[in-house]
Structure formats: structure tokens, C-alpha cells
Amino acid sequence: MIKPLNKGVKHMLKIAHTICPSCSVGCGVNLIIKNQEAVGTYPYKRHPVNQGKNCEKGRNSFQILNENRLQNPLIRKNGLEQARWDETLDTIVSQIKKYSPQEIGIVASGNCTNQEYETLKKFAESLGVKNIGYNAGTFPYFNFQSATLDDVESSRTILIVGDVLKENPLLGRRVILARENGAEIISIDISANTLTGINSDEHILIESTSQLTEQVGKILPKLDESSTVLIKELESREEFENILQILQESSARILPVLKDCNSRGAMNYLPALDEDDLKELLEKVKLLYVVGDDPASHLAESMKNLEFIITQGPSVTETVLLSDVVLPGTCWAEKSGTFTSTTGKTQKISKILDAPGDAKDDVTIMVELAEKMGLELIK
């Protein structure tokens, strides 16, 4: 079982801090790196968001680094074939030059770093591309001061729309702690049986989210400055906006629970696209540049008439398979930058691992592409 001593052979076990990429709460997690491979996670108890506690998704987040990774640039010839970087970028440049800015679309996900959004935004501006945005689900842009996790924990009343305890357990934990301190928890859901409901003092069942505004209105008198309202993703942008409007009549703090690890950061740089916006964009343009997102997984029909698709990302997705050119990017633990959590807290991530194969840092890819285009990214 035990190998003889072998001087000179390094085994390299490293525990490294990072931020969990699984949802928008912004938990800290330690990666266990063995011989340059992520093999597990280890509690990061020093992290103020979650104190070493992670949900199952968070503890398994290391697997993303090892699964279905893109290792080389690909160009569609007879199917997608491996290519060199310079050849790949040249192909993209010659294609982009064929189209007017109005015919080009750029779509990012909520999982990129703030630095990537910033660079992508500059890239689009230099190119004159207006059809740009990130996949925001039904959350629109907002810029009000949202509640912090400590606000949630110190609340006297918490109103929860959606199953926060199940889907964002480390935010749910703050609700549990508030309840242990005597807070009243009220939840609203279209489902009668939810984990959040079971752990609430009152669970209000609604038939459809269209009844939300009315129900929130009824609870309004209970809400004051020591209250927090947590709102998970709703059916439509309007529903969220309607609730916000009602809540303006109270002094309760609000925390929209966004989907991706940097959805909150994305909205500071790029337009927030809901499903309809995204569909419209995909159907309007001829050349599409996708960064980190996978529109083909839910909008393949709207992508049928695209003439050229460029996809940049860390792993194989349905969109990658539809693409004409594929740029292998990095996973979160392979780059440095920042993520902004749903509470608006911006946290640093550092490069822990090298990207596999020929994959490159995403900002570098964008900058090199801009250089090849002869664009000067506006400072």
C-alpha cells in the first residue's frame, strides 16, 4: 500500500480558498488540489458568509473543473475540429468583419467574472455592437441597497417568496438563525409542501404567481425596518417589479435571490436579458458570440437562422455543439477576478489551477480577439 520513498517526486497536496460558483450566495469553499487536480472540497471556516458550511452543490463544485472540459480551440470543418489559436482567432475576425454591428449579438451568462463583463462590454462598445446582454432570468436590473446576510439574521420578521431554504441553504441558514432568535417567518409559494414552508410560522399557498402582489400586500402591515423580504426568481420580470413597488410602502429590506454566482455583478456592466429579450436578440442577429452561457439548452429554436456562432466557455454544452468556432475558456478556479454575490458583496477569486490543455483565460481571449480585430478596448 505504501510506496517506497521517492526523493524528488512531489505529491503536492494543497488546500486553497475560493468562492463557490454554484449559486449567488457567495459562500467560501476550500478546494483540495492533488497533483494539479481538484479532488474535493474542505470546509473554509474562516469565511464570513458560510463559516465552513456548504450545501451539496457547493461541496461538489470541484467536479465542474474535471468534467466535459474544452481543451482546444475548435473550428467547424467536417464537424468541429481541433485548431490552433491564431487560426481560430483569424477565422473569427474574418467572420465578424462580414457583418454590420447590428447583425452581431453578444450573450454572456451570470457566471463570468466582473473583469470579463468589463472587457466584454468594452469589446462590444469598440465594435459598435448594441445587441448585448447576460442571461438574467426574470430579474431586471436594480440598484437599490439590498439586505445583507447579517440583516437577514437579525430580522424580526422575514417574508420569503420561494423555497430559499432548499435552493440556497446557506442563505436559508440565516433564516433559521433568525427564527432561533424569535423572528417570525412567513413564506409564500405555489407549492404547498416546501422546506421553507415547513420551517415557517405561516406558509401561504398561492395558485399562481399572479396572486403574489395581493398576498404581499396583505402581509405589508407586518413589515417594518426590522423585516427582510427574500425573493426568489419569479415567472416574469413584471411580477418582481410589482412586488418591489408594493414593498416601497414599507421600510422592509429586500434581498432578491439571483441565480448565478455573479448575476449581481453582471447587471453592473451588461443589460439584463430575460427569456423574451434573449429570444429576440437571437432571432435578430446573424453572428452570435456566446460567453459562458448555453442558450441552445432552452432556445435552440431561436438559433436556427444564425449564420455564425462563436462560443467561449469552459465546457461542452449544447451551444458548443451548434457552434462554428469554439474558444476554450477557464473555470472559476483557473482564473483571478471578482464575483459579486446576491447581497452585493464583491469577493476575490484567485487562480488555483492551470486551465486544461490549450484553454485560455477568458479576459485574455477577449483582449487577443480585440487586438486581432484592430480594436482598441476603450479604457
Binding site: 520513498l5 497536496l13 451539496e56 446557506l170
Partner: protein, 382 residues
């Protein structure tokens, strides 16, 4: 073998000054690496600040100096890190009593090869959760936690050192009365001197600048003798008085731990209705199982289909926590990791520790300390 006490310190000047109590532990690690008696050393290093203890694996003795000093806000666990990631290597490990307990149980279960590992035990009065430490430093010391450059636990006080060199101390009793201080598990822990390791090292009874070492195993004795012979450590015999002081400190701490056991496991033990409330929070994320250093089965009963029902929102406590409890509670070493990592703040360690204690009272089996496996052990049940 006959127990042996000695005082030791590093001969290397840098290790002696930067290391805790004369740097004897660091010098032992350096000796083991230099002589190629181990492939690597697993120990803690300071991460971003004094509240951030990061398990670190070192293969070069030049790096040992970076691991100098002790951290009390680092409730880490090495047991499963060794069994899962480093089991094919020859190791030296610095172990708190709970690490040593977990390692002993894993050795008995053939998950760690006792022949391949040097366990350098560190006396431990308990650890503080990093965020708890930061909060209590703000509240009780009126200090910005970022201004703390070092901390130590001495004579019943948690002492902090600030940037300007000044010290502030607060009685641990006072902190714990208000719900701060050491982790609940540490408060209840009776093993303060890890006699389940090869050596038990610490400052109790030691003169300033020296480490008090209790030699526990033959392997430990050889290590100390050879490190001495090769010029890595200086040793001397402690006075009778030093031995008595150490015993007295240990005795007081064990007595206190038993008081906390009575408090947490009997007087203030959650009522059945409290447990109902706790189990209602369970998200079945398996964090408790996965962090448990002793759970090692590749195929876990808890994931068998017959134990879960369709559309369940919370797992049935009987077939989830109940099954895990029936497999693991006899062997529970009260490391508290399950409770530390539970996203839903379920006080799991309380029920496990209580069960182990009852089992121990009936059978005499002390998890993590007894040489043999628990009575009624089967590989099916950890």
C-alpha cells in the same frame, strides 16, 4: 512502555524563536524530512490572518519554518484528509487530540496504516470557530479583529496580541457563559493530552522556551532520541514540579469538560420537540456524513432507495439520522465536524456524543482512545 517526560527545544535558531515553546515540534518535522523518514508533513499554516488555519502538506524541510506557531481558531480535521488523500505516503502529522482519535479509529479500520505515520500530538484546550472569535474580539475586547496579530490560550484566558505589541485577555469562562469561546465539542472534550499519538507536546508545565513532551509510543521515543542524537533538538528532564503542574492543569480541564458534558448532554439537552424542529430543517445534503472522518464506506446505506420515499421534502429522521446514528455513534470521537458543517445548524454532535458516552459507560469502549474496535463492530456499520 514506561512513560517518559522531557523538555525539548529546537537547536535551529530560527525554529527556536519562531516556533511555539522553543520549536521542538518543528524541529522533529525537519529531522524527519531531512532524514527522508517521511514523504511529507501535514500540519497547519496561517492563511489570510490569525483566524485562518489552512492544512498544509510540506515536502521540503526548508518550508517547515512557515508552519511555526500555533493557531487556536482553526477547528480543522486531518483524519479523513489523510485516509482519503495521503494514504499512500509516509507522513508526519501534527495532531490535536480529536485528529489523533479519528486517526486511531481509521487505523483500526485499515484506512490509515499506523506504520506509515508519525503522530506528533499537541495538547489542546480547545479551539474557537474563526467567526465566533472575530465577533467576541469585537464585543469583549473592544478591538478590531483585523488588528490582532497573534492569540493564545493560557491560564484560563483567551489572550490576543495587537499590532502595537500590547496584549488583552478575557477569561474563557466569561466568554463561554455568553455563548462565545471554544466550540461546544471542545468544551465537552476530555482528551486534552493526546496519549493516543506517538508524542504529546505542549506548554503545560514547560519552562518558557521549551516544549514539554510526553513520550507515548516506542516510535515516539525513537524519534525523540534520534532527533536529539542528530542534533535537531536539545532535551532535558523536567522537574517534578513541572510534571505536577501539567497534571494539575490536565485534571482541571478534564473536570471542567465533565461539567460541560453534564450541562450540554443532560441538563440543557434538547427536548424531543426541539429535535423534531431540528430534523425538520434537514436538507439531506450529506455534509455530516461526508465530513465525518470515520465514515469511509464507498457505498453508503443512506443512499439506498428503500431509505427514502418519493417526493420527500425532509428525510425521515429514523431512516436518515437514525441509520447514521446507529452506524456511527458508538465510534464517535466528538470532533464536532458534523455540527460545524451542517448548513442548517442542527446540533448533531450533541446526540452523537451523548450516545457514545452512554455506550462507553456500558462497554468501557472509548472511541478514539481504546486500542480495539467497538464491541459489536461490523464493517457494515462504521
Amino acid at each position: 512502555m514506561k512513560t517518559q517526560f522531557l523538555l525539548a527545544k529546537a537547536n535551529d535558531n530560527e525554529l527556536a524563536t519562531r516556533g511555539e515553546c522553543g520549536g521542538a515540534v518543528s524541529a522533529l518535522f525537519k529531522y524527519l524530512l531531512d532524514q527522508e523518514l517521511v514523504d511529507g508533513v501535514l500540519t497547519l499554516t496561517r492563511g489570510d490572518d490569525v483566524y485562518d488555519g489552512v492544512p498544509t502538506f510540506l515536502e521540503d524541510s526548508e518550508d517547515i519554518v512557515e508552519t511555526c506557531g500555533s493557531l487556536h481558531c482553526a477547528p480543522t480535521m486531518f483524519g479523513d484528509l489523510i485516509s482519503k488523500q495521503l494514504s499512500d505516503l509516509r507522513l508526519a502529522v501534527s495532531v490535536k487530540p480529536c485528529d489523533a482519535m479519528a486517526i486511531r479509529e481509521l487505523e483500526k479500520r485499515h484506512q490509515i496504516d499506523s506504520k506509515a505515520i508519525y503522530k506528533i500530538g499537541l495538547n489542546c484546550g480547545g479551539t474557537v470557530m474563526p467567526i465566533t472569535a472575530r465577533k467576541m474580539i469585537e464585543m469583549f475586547y473592544d478591538v478590531d479583529p483585523q488588528d490582532v496579530v497573534a492569540e493564545e490560550i493560557d491560564k484560563g484566558k483567551f489572550i490576543i496580541e495587537l499590532k502595537d505589541g500590547t496584549h488583552k485577555a478575557v477569561e474563557i469562562d466569561e466568554l463561554e457563559e455568553k455563548g462565545f469561546g471554544r466550540r461546544g465539542n471542545c468544551q465537552r472534550c476530555e482528551l486534552k493530552i493526546p496519549r493516543n499519538a506517538d508524542l504529546a507536546c505542549g506548554n503545560w508545565g514547560a519552562e518558557p522556551g521549551w516544549t514539554f513532551i510526553e513520550v507515548v509510543t516506542e516510535k515516539g521515543r525513537e524519534l525523540v532520541e534520534n532527533a536529539h542524537k542528530n542534533g535537531y533538538i536539545e532535551v532535558k528532564t523536567p522537574s517534578e514540579k513541572a510534571i505536577t503542574i501539567r497534571e494539575k492543569i490536565e485534571g482541571i480541564m478534564i473536570k471542567l469538560a465533565r461539567k460541560f458534558q453534564d450541562k450540554y448532554l443532560e441538563e440543557d439537552y434538547p427536548l424531543p420537540e426541539n429535535w423534531d424542529e431540528y430534523w425538520n430543517r434537514c436538507i439531506k445534503c450529506f455534509a455530516c456524513r461526508d465530513v465525518c472522518p470515520l465514515c469511509y464506506c464507498k457505498e453508503c446505506d443512506l443512499e439506498k432507495e428503500f431509505y427514502s420515499s418519493e417526493n420527500e421534502i425532509i428525510p425521515d429522521p429514523i431512516t436518515f439520522q437514525g441509520v447514521r446514528l446507529s452506524h456511527m455513534s458508538f465510534s464517535c470521537v466528538n470532533c464536532g465536524q458534523c455540527e460545524d458543517v451542517c448548513p442548517m445548524e442542527i446540533p448533531l454532535a450533541r446526540i452523537y456524543h451523548r450516545m457514545q458516552k452512554k455506550y462507553r459507560d456500558e462497554t468501557g469502549f472509548i472511541a478514539g482512545v481504546s486500542e480495539e474496535l467497538p464491541p459489536l463492530y461490523s464493517p457494515e456499520k462504521g
